[in-house]
Amino acid sequence: MFRKLAVVTALSALLAGAALAPRPAQAIPIFAQRYGFQCGVCHSVLPELNAFGNAFRDNGYRLPGLPKHGTTIFALREQVGYTETPAQGSERTVPAGAILGAAEIGEVEAFFHDSLGSEGGPSSLFLGYLAYRDEPSKILFRLGLFELPLVHSPAQRNDTLTTYGYEGTRFGLDDLTLATPRWGIEAERQIGVATLATTIAVGNAAGSAYGGKPVETGTSQTFAAPEYGLYLRVPVAEDVRVGLDLLDGDAAIAQLARPTFDDAYTREGVSLDAQRGRLQLLAEQWYGRDVNADGAGDPLGSTGGFVRLRWALGDHAFIGLREDAAAAPAATRSLLWYAEAQVGRHARVLIQQQRPIPGGPTSLGGALTFGFPWPWGQ
């Protein structure tokens, strides 16, 4: 109890100090090197992108007209995670890292994120795509292994250590979550005030963003048919956007000693993103249906989502409260509070506590995340 109190007090003091003097962040130093930026230009709190950072990403990581500098091409992001109540066989403190890479190849930007593994897990490619913005059509293309363009980054550039609500849900024997990066192609463009993105996926990433202990589950999964996705964001007032996400796919699932079977599925989500002063509200509700999630022909309905309220203490410090829920069909619901801030120019400190609803053991966690090498003099 005393140790828990001490950890919370120390981290809170650290956060409070950082919040009082928020500083720019560093996340992918390669881009900062290229344009000579303070990385707080693109990041709110590492690794999350701010509005400008998202616009930069959506422009294929290009800022036409600005002078460019040499880069290291590769960078390292390291994260030390702390969990008060680790699963059996896991440690309380787990170091994990990722190699980030970016390079210009003519008009194309190559980007990748390879996890270094943790807890004895192997390294694996988590993201790896070519981004290209076609100026005449104003369409941004991503080809390779990318995240679904949901209302927020489901597994990267995230503001907590806990997957958002329904985005980490598995559906019967279908292990493909919304947070899992897909192999395929994405096209995105502005249509009037709205943003429309589409994805066609034919495979998915096998690892996690920071590695993890590998477990033989006896089940493997591929795509029986391409998965099609449609993502629409429409501003309905100043600082208020609504969204619609639609996914349609067909998984081929193989269990040991059992013939492979197909599970056709759909996922539909509606979202709201609203901001008023320093307060931001982000919420999404999903509905899903799997035709054959058990291989016995039984349909499986699912639902869930999240509501997040976040207060900006400054440009580089936040406190947030989030409720997550998912049912597929057994329900889980939890409340998460968190606080995060830049500490120095190149690191983030995060503390969070998750509590099941209606009750149960709480889980305290934290992380120190930093990236390097950063630009000279920054």
């Binding site: 024997l173 202990k213 006896g218 309905v236 049912a327 619901r333």
Partner: protein
């Protein structure tokens, strides 16, 4: 706009429907309760008289008639404990999606703990009748993840 935002907030409130609670420990649990640990991460595959077992510890639990059993998921992801009507472990999974919903409270009547989230426990299951009861995990049956309970 404020009304619209609030309305949407209520509508989007992370709501779930048609769901059953999981991971609760029943008040009926007593000192005469046997706890069976669920973990695929730390699983040791062992041969038993009913076939290859793994994922549940002990692989063969012998419990007293009239006592209770509860399953505790100490793993970092979801599992079920679901009974099967068999005298040895079938080669292929015998489970359907019904295993994802919590049901049953006796060994002889059959049971499923539903999808037990990490760190949660099942409803208590009463050892109400002598016999051998086989069970497994819906998600990871082929791992293998299955075990037995014997009531002498």
């Amino acid at each position: 706009m404020r009304v619209l935002s609030l309305s949407l907030l209520v509508a989007l409130g992370g709501c779930t429907a048609g769901a059953t609670a999981s991971g609760t420990v029943g008040a009926a649990a007593t000192a005469a309760t046997t706890t069976i640990d669920i973990s695929l991460t730390d699983s040791v595959v062992v041969p038993t008289a009913y076939g290859t077992s793994g994922g549940f510890t002990p692989a063969v639990a012998t419990v007293v008639l009239g006592s209770s059993i509860r399953f505790v998921n100490t793993d970092s992801f979801a599992h079920t404990s679901t009974s099967m009507n068999a005298t040895s472990f079938p080669a292929a999974s015998p489970f359907s999606a019904a295993a994802l919903t919590q049901s049953g409270s006796t060994l002889s009547g059959g049971w499923s703990a539903g999808a037990l989230a990490a760190g949660t426990a099942s409803q208590p299951i009463l050892a109400d009748k002598s016999g051998t009861y086989l069970y497994g995990c819906f998600f990871h049956y082929g791992a293998p993840m299955r075990a037995a309970i014997v009531v002498p």
